[in-house]
Subunit: 265 residues, 2 copies
């Protein structure tokens, strides 16, 4: 997608894929035209917690690799390494291709596996940071007849939020940091599962479409710390658009700026 | 307090008490000068959920009776009845005096008791609506040497949020509605205890001091329903002041308008 969130028609690749770009064309991401396609949720999650130097980062349910790609692009000078963890073969191939396409082979790795059995694939407590845009929808909700890849990426076919938080707790080192983006109406379920898995919520931000009007928050971004102390900071709201049917809000637009602006993060 | 939140110096009663007014003088509330004194938390909680006609309402930890008084003033034409439940004798006397002072003897009753043993004082499932501004601070925090009445009203001397939610669940009828105001940094504890006591969070609103700047939310207002279905609505943020050191925000000011404006609620 270009900065206004539209697919860039000039850069299309063969029929099955679209070739989308971010950061004024500095990052490329191929996606299946009819499959799972990333949205701004991924962009928000990738930016919520800048990593420490040399951090080993895992992206749970990495899909086409978009979060890993954005983090690699944004913080490639910090010596971070990002592991994408994904169950669907079609998305794993795509993510591997995207990593190669951007030249991030040394920064990003994709691992195949199911979050419900994560320790069969990865060593325990082996990451300092985690990010995830987990499947949002309960089975049976939404349009089950839509594309199979997209359905599985968005629905809790292979694990709900409890499974994702359990897996996060297993692979995160003590005091490690986890970022999730999740629907605001699922807050209670999320916080219960987080506390149960010793991922203590430390910072939360609610995402609204725009500042005016009566509509409710759609999503929240949350930063949890494994075995962290209690005490949650509720940030100012985040607005995606300036107004109804308007352009991106300045806060959102900033997340699409190329890395010359990196100092602002 | 008058509308700007200042004590009205013209209406002082004998030394031990202050005589504060709301709604352009239409409601009076005597408070101990040196004891527990209500704040805008009570005003917010009293307005968050307009009651149904004839509703039996309970205010858990009613203090000087301020929430009961505001609800009586605001919705006296709906045939509601409000029971204040309070443990401290000095506050019970004060609340009873305030009820008499405003002529609300038929609308408000004060019951003495400890929330931890609420069913020794009140029949189970006997209210359709509940409101509470419970003690916020863990024992030992804050200034323990301050006035004893204020300390007990604000600190969890006789029950923390778990005890208040347990008591709420016991006295609320099935599908009954509860409103709480609580510090934003205690959100996780609150939601866990709410779910445990089958008080399902339905609507939440975060309270910020003012719209600009970087500071976090101070409080949240929440509406829970006993045995309600999952699914939480996160409202737009609520701002108390227009700006730093500014006047009340229009949303806050509206809560102090006399009842001629009642239709707006």
């Amino acid at each position: 997608m270009n900065r206004s969130g539209q697919r860039d028609k000039r850069e299309e690749s063969p029929e099955e894929f679209s070739h989308d770009t971010l950061f004024s064309g500095e990052l490329s991401c191929r996606q299946h035209r009819e499959g799972y396609r990333f949205s701004l949720d991924a962009v928000l999650a990738a930016h919520f917690l800048p990593p420490r130097k040399q951090a080993r980062i895992i992206d749970l349910g990495s899909g086409s690799g978009i979060i890993a790609l954005i983090m690699a692009y944004r913080w490639r000078n910090l010596g971070v390494h990002i592991t994408g963890f994904e169950r669907q073969q079609s998305l794993i191939s795509l993510a591997k291709g995207n990593i190669e396409l951007n030249g991030y082979d040394e920064i990003c790795t994709i691992k195949e596996g199911d979050v419900r059995h994560i320790l069969q694939h990865l060593p325990p407590e082996s990451f300092e940071q985690l990010v995830s845009n987990p499947p949002f929808f309960p089975l049976g909700s939404g349009r089950p007849s839509q594309n199979r890849e997209a359905y599985q990426a968005r629905h809790q076919v292979a694990g709900g939020i409890e499974d994702f938080l359990y897996a996060a707790s297993k692979v995160l080192a003590n005091k490690g940091h986890a970022v999730f983006i999740y629907p605001a109406n699922g807050l209670t379920d999320f916080l219960l599962a987080a506390r149960k898995n010793r991922l203590e919520p430390k910072r939360i931000q609610y995402i609204y479409d725009y500042p005016e009007g009566e509509s409710e928050a759609r999503l929240f971004l949350i930063h949890c710390q494994k075995n962290g102390g209690a005490g949650l900071k509720t940030e100012r709201p985040f607005y995606v658009y300036e107004k109804k049917n308007g352009a991106y809000h300045e806060s959102m637009q900033r997340l699409y700026e190329p890395s010359s602006q990196e100092a602002s993060f």
